[in-house]
Amino acid sequence: MITVHDLRVTFGHGADAVAAVQGVTFDVKPGESFGLVGESGSGKSTVLRAVVGLNHDWTGTIAVDGKPQTPHRDKAFFKSCQMVFQDPYGSLHPRHTIDRILAEPIAIHRLGNADARIDRVLRDVGLGPQFRFRYPHQLSGGQRQRVAIARALVLEPRVLLLDEPTSALDVSVQAEILNLLKRLRAEHALTYVLVSHNLAVVAGMCDRLAVMNRGRIVEEMDAASLRRGEAREGYTQQLLRASQGYDRAAADSFKDFA
């Protein structure tokens, strides 16, 4: 479904150039859920932004649904590939109603029948029609993230790219959104690429994952071996220890991985 080969992204020029992604390669099969894990600055979000076409300056190969992609995408691409962002407080237009937010992609893609589509997608994400004419500030964080997911789903895409979809939410709300995403994937046969720094979230949501550090993939593994804590690389092992709560001895043993 998604093939990324030797992807490189560099920001800046000359002496100030930062190589954010340095040769990343991975494959995601149709219907699969793939996780990208890493700390801030590891390039995981940059990979996602390059795949969805928000970042134009990359080299390498990106193919989605068998079609090789150029830096600039056509409308048909966005019909099949949508993204959900981290911060539901920043990703919804504050002066548009939910109805208008959801109607815009329908109008752009000339899908028609907006009324029925909006009604259906709102029910799909568990909000219901009573939220339709509210503004984002009238919703809680979890409800806003549901709207953001609905905005992506309203085009009936086949691929959903999720950039830290729950890290701005409380844990109790995080569980609701994760359950929703799981249900939607099963119901609509979606392919997910999930970026997260939370290993437990990825272990629960994904079939396979790649661990990134400093722009490179350190290790690819399946979720079952992550759950068993079987990491081959030292970097992944350190990440696993750090995510298991505070441990004085572990903190002292941490080192930098170049």
């Binding site: 109790s172 569980a175 359950n179 437990a200 272990a203 750090a242 505070y246």
Partner: protein, 281 residues
Amino acid sequence: MTSENPLLEVENLRISFPTRTGVTQAVRGVSFTVGREKLGIVGESGSGKSMTGRAILRLVPSPGIVTADKLAFQGEDLLTAPEKRLRDIRGRRISMVMQDPKFSLNPVMTIGAQIAEAYRVHSKAGKAEAKQRTLEMLEAVRIRNPERVYGLYPHEVSGGMGQRIMIAMMLIPNPDLLIADEPTSALDVTVQMQVLAIMDELCSKRGMGMIFVSHDLNLVASFCDRILIMYAGRVVETCRASELHAAKHPYTRGLLDSLPRLDDTRAELPVLARDPAWLEG
């Protein structure tokens, strides 16, 4: 772990905000004491945990109204203390680390100058001595090249380093009590662990008390000695950190259950069903 003379005593703390549609009660009758220990306050956003931390230093923003039967630091009443006296207490005796170094550091002052200022305000030390102490403090929070970092501006350092600088600044006046409001939630897990290790060490070395406000149950359980769990402005449960897994209150249980675990095989995460009775619990 509470000694006979607690550092801080809070009894029936209430914080309310008058709004157009009536009075919103952010904190509704919270009581606790802090000794020379690490006390964790856990809760969701809106539970009143940060406001509780702020009320101790009388930093609740206007028009918030703070009342309490008792709010005493080493026997001294904080609620009626004059503003001048409070300025001596803030920083020198009780200091506070905020969540985001990006907004808490002065962007137009070098890091060294900011930390040295925090020291000089409270100690009447000379410039040279303040610089010496600042460099020592930067080293204590594991900043590798203190001389270089001393002359940098906040935008030139990473988030993890910024948070360590904040901690250095708060610890340099040698306070008795440190209030840390989500001090590590903007950091990567490995950096977070290292920053916690620094605070842990300084706590045990100096016999400092600490209030650690966080939404991360696992982190608090593994880092603190005692935990208060807050819900809708009230403390619903207090327990020793080591016994959190045996918590009794349905809210605490629900929060613990809704956390994804690494070895999870549950198809669906249990969702917290909120019981209106908890509001009165």
